[in-house]
Amino acid sequence: MIPAGQRLLRLGGCSLLWRPRTLAVGAVLLVVAGALALALLGMGTIRLTPDRVLAGLMGSEDDGMATRIVRLLRLPRLLTAAIVGASLGAAGAAFQSISRNALGSPDVIGFTTGAATGAITGIVLFQTGPTETALAAVGAGLLTAFTVLALARQRGAGGGYRLILIGIGCGAVLTGVNTMLMVKGGIDQAMAAQIWLAGSLTGRSWSHVGPAFVAMLLLLPVLVVNARRLALLEMGTDIATGLGIHVGRTRMVAVLAAVGLTSVATASTGPIAFIALAGPQIARRLTRAPEVPILTGALTGAVLLLAADLLGQVAPFRLTLPIGLTTGLLGGLYLMVVLLQRDR
C-alpha cells in the first residue's frame, strides 16, 4: 500500500517512494537559490549585469574583469554561503528529530559555541591557518556534543528539554571561555578571533569552500540514508526497536554526522545562528510532509543564508550587519514566535 500523497518509483529491483509536493517545493527552492545567487554575484562595489555574470562564470576571454571578479571573489563567497547554509539546515533537521523538539538546534544546544571555542583556541594560542582552524573547530564541536549528551543522559525529569537546558548551560560557559581566550591572546589574534566570532562571509576564498564541500559530500548522504529511521525513532524508543531499528547506533551515527556538518560549517564562516533552527521547520511547513526534512531543510538553509547575505549587502544607512549577528537577531525572534504559537 502506498501512503497518501506519495508515489512509487520502481527501477528493476529498487523502489523509491516519492512525494510530488516535496519535489515541487525542492524545485522552487532551487530556483529561488539560483536567483539569489545571480543577484549576489552581480552585486558589490562593481556592479555586474546578469549577462556579464554569466560571461564571468563561463570564463570568457573578452570580459577578463568580470571573470576575475566572479571567479576569484564572489563565487567562493557564494558557494561558502550556500554550502554552510545547506549543512546547517540538514544538521538542524537531524538534531530536531533526535531531540524530538523544534528548538533542538545546534545553536541552542551549545554545539556551535563549542566549535567556536576550538577555532578560537587554534587562532589565539597556536596561530593556525584556515585548515587547522577548521579541524580544531570540528574536534571541539564533537567534544562539546559528547559532553552535553553525556550530561543530559542521567535519570531525572526534563525529557528532551534536559538536553536543551544542559546545552544552554554549556553554551554559556563556553562563551565565557571564548572571551577569556580572546583577552589572553595578543591584540592581533584577538582581532582575528573577534571578526571570526561575529560570523562573516567576507573574504572567503576557495580554501574555505573545499573542506565545507567535502564534509557535505561525505556527511549529507549519511543523514539522507538515515532519515527514514530517524522518523521512526520519533515515535519512541520502544516502537522503533519493535520495528527493527538499532536505536543506539542510528542515533549515534546521526548525531556524529550532524555534529560534523555543523562544526565544519562553523569553521568556514564562524558561528551563524538561526539557520539550523528555522531551516528545517520552514521546510516542514512548506512540504507538509511528516518525514525528517534533511534535503529540503538543507535547501531552505541555503536559501536563508543567501537571503541574509543579500540583506546585509543592501542594508540601509550604511549599517554594518555581520551575517552571524543578523541571523542571531532573526533567530531569537523566531524562537519567541515558536513559543507564542504553542499557546494555540
Binding site: 528548538l103 541552542v108 550530561l151 542521567q154 531525572g156 525529569a157 526534563g158 528539554y161 534536559r162 536543551i164 537546558l165 544542559i166 544552554i168 548551560g169 554549556c170 554559556a172 560557559v173 562563551t175 565565557g176 571561555v177 572571551t179 577569556m180 583577552v183 589572553k184 561575529a198 545562528a273 549599517l319 554594518t320 550587519l321 555581520p322 549577528l325 543578523t326 542571531g328 537577531l329 533567530g331 531569537g332 525572534l333 524562537l335 519567541m336 513559543l339 507564542l340 504553542r342
Partner: protein, 340 residues
C-alpha cells in the same frame, strides 16, 4: 514541619556571620590583589596614614575601594533579584541574567547612550530600569511566569530567546555607533567592574535600598504564595498586586545592577541556592542572606578575573559565567524541575 522551619531559621544567624566574615576577608583581598599587588600593611596605611603623593595609597583609595563596594552592592542587587524571581515563578532556574532582564537593561542603556550621547551613570540608570522592566514583562508573559511551576522550561526558553535577540542587538548597536560608544561599552558589555567610580556606587546603593526594602516587605506574601496562587488567594492575598510589586523590585535591582556594571549572569542564580541550603525556604531570611552571599560571589569573581589572565583583566561578568554555568547544569541535573 514547624520544627524543621524553626531549626532552619535558627541557622540563619550562622549564615549571616559566615557571610559577613567572608565579605570582610574578600574586601581585604580585593584591596591587595591586582595588576599591582599591594601588601596589606600598605593597604592599612592608605587608610590610617594617607599620603596623597603615594601611588599605592591612591590606587587603594581611588580605584580599589569603589570597585569592591560596587561588587558587593551589584552582587547584592542581583542576588535579591534572583531570589524574588525564583519565589515568584517558583522556578529554581529563574535569574535576571538567564531570563533576559539584564539583557533588556543592557539594550536600553546602549540605545540611550548611542541615541542621546549619555555618558553619566546617573543618566543611563533610568534606561536600565526601563529596559529591565520591559524585558522582564515580555519574558513573564511569553513564558507564562506565574504558572512556571507547571512548565518550568518554557520560561527558560523564552528568556534564552530574548537574550539571544538582545545580545545580537546590543552588538549591532555598538558596532554601528560611534567610536566613543564602543570605547565606553566594550568593557561594560562584558560585565566589568573596572573604573566605574563613586557615582556608580552611590547609584547602586540608592537602588539597592529602595528595591531591597520593597522586596523585604513582600517577603511574607511571597512565602504565602509559594503554596500556590489559589492558596494565596484563600489566605487573603492579591496575587496580581504582589507579582506586580515583585516585578517592580526586580526591575529596580536588576536594572541598576546592569546599568552600573553591565549584564552579569548566574550570580543571581547561585546565591539564592546557597542561602536556601543554609536557612531553608523562608524568604524573610533568604533575601538578605542571598544579598550577602551574592556580594561575596561577585567580589570573588572580580578578584579571580584580576589574577587569571594577568597582566590583563577578565571582566567579573565573564568569570561569573564560567563558574556559574556548571552550577546551572548541576541544578538542571539535580532538581526534578517541577515545583520549587
Amino acid at each position: 514541619m514547624t520544627t524543621g522551619l524553626a531549626l532552619a531559621r535558627s541557622r540563619a544567624p550562622l549564615g549571616y556571620a559566615v557571610g559577613l566574615a567572608a565579605t570582610v576577608l574578600l574586601v581585604l583581598a580585593s584591596f591587595a590583589v591586582g595588576s599591582r599587588p599591594i601588601p596589606l600593611p600598605e593597604v592599612a596605611a592608605a587608610f590610617a596614614a594617607y599620603q596623597p603623593g603615594n601611588d599605592l595609597h591612591l590606587i587603594v583609595r581611588e580605584l580599589r575601594v569603589p570597585r569592591a563596594l560596587l561588587a558587593i552592592l551589584v552582587g547584592a542587587g542581583l542576588g535579591m533579584a534572583g531570589t524574588v524571581m525564583q519565589a515568584v515563578t517558583r522556578n529554581p532556574l529563574a535569574e535576571p541574567g538567564l531570563l533576559g532582564v539584564n539583557g533588556g537593561a543592557a539594550m536600553a542603556v546602549v540605545l540611550g547612550a548611542a541615541a542621546f550621547g549619555l555618558t553619566a551613570v546617573t543618566q543611563f540608570v533610568w534606561f536600565g530600569f526601563l529596559g529591565a522592566g520591559l524585558a522582564g514583562a515580555a519574558v513573564f508573559f511569553l513564558g507564562r511566569g506565574h504558572q512556571s511551576g507547571a512548565d518550568p522550561v518554557r520560561l527558560l526558553l523564552a528568556g534564552a530567546g530574548l537574550s539571544i535577540v538582545l545580545g545580537a542587538a546590543v552588538s549591532l548597536v555598538i558596532l554601528n555607533a560611534g567610536l566613543e560608544v564602543l570605547d565606553t561599552f566594550r568593557g561594560w558589555s562584558a560585565g566589568s567592574l573596572e573604573g566605574r567610580g563613586m557615582a556608580a556606587v552611590w547609584t547602586m546603593a540608592v537602588a539597592l535600598v529602595i528595591g531591597g526594602a520593597l522586596a523585604l516587605t513582600l517577603a511574607p506574601s511571597l512565602n504565602a504564595l509559594a503554596m500556590g496562587e489559589s492558596m494565596g488567594r484563600a489566605l487573603g492575598l492579591h496575587p496580581q498586586r504582589i507579582w506586580g510589586l515583585a516585578c517592580l523590585s526586580v526591575m529596580i535591582l536588576a536594572g541598576a545592577a546592569t546599568a552600573t556594571a553591565g549584564p552579569i549572569g548566574f550570580v543571581g542564580l547561585v546565591a539564592p541556592h546557597m542561602a536556601r541550603a543554609v536557612t531553608g525556604p523562608d524568604n524573610r531570611d533568604l533575601l538578605p542572606l542571598s544579598a550577602l552571599f551574592a556580594g561575596c560571589l561577585l567580589l570573588t569573581a572580580d578578584i579571580i578575573g584580576r589574577v587569571i589572565v594577568a597582566p590583563d583583566e577578565l571582566a567579573a561578568g565573564i568569570v561569573a559565567t564560567i563558574l556559574g554555568g556548571p552550577f546551572f547544569i548541576y541544578v538542571v541535573r539535580r532538581f526534578r524541575l517541577a515545583r520549587l
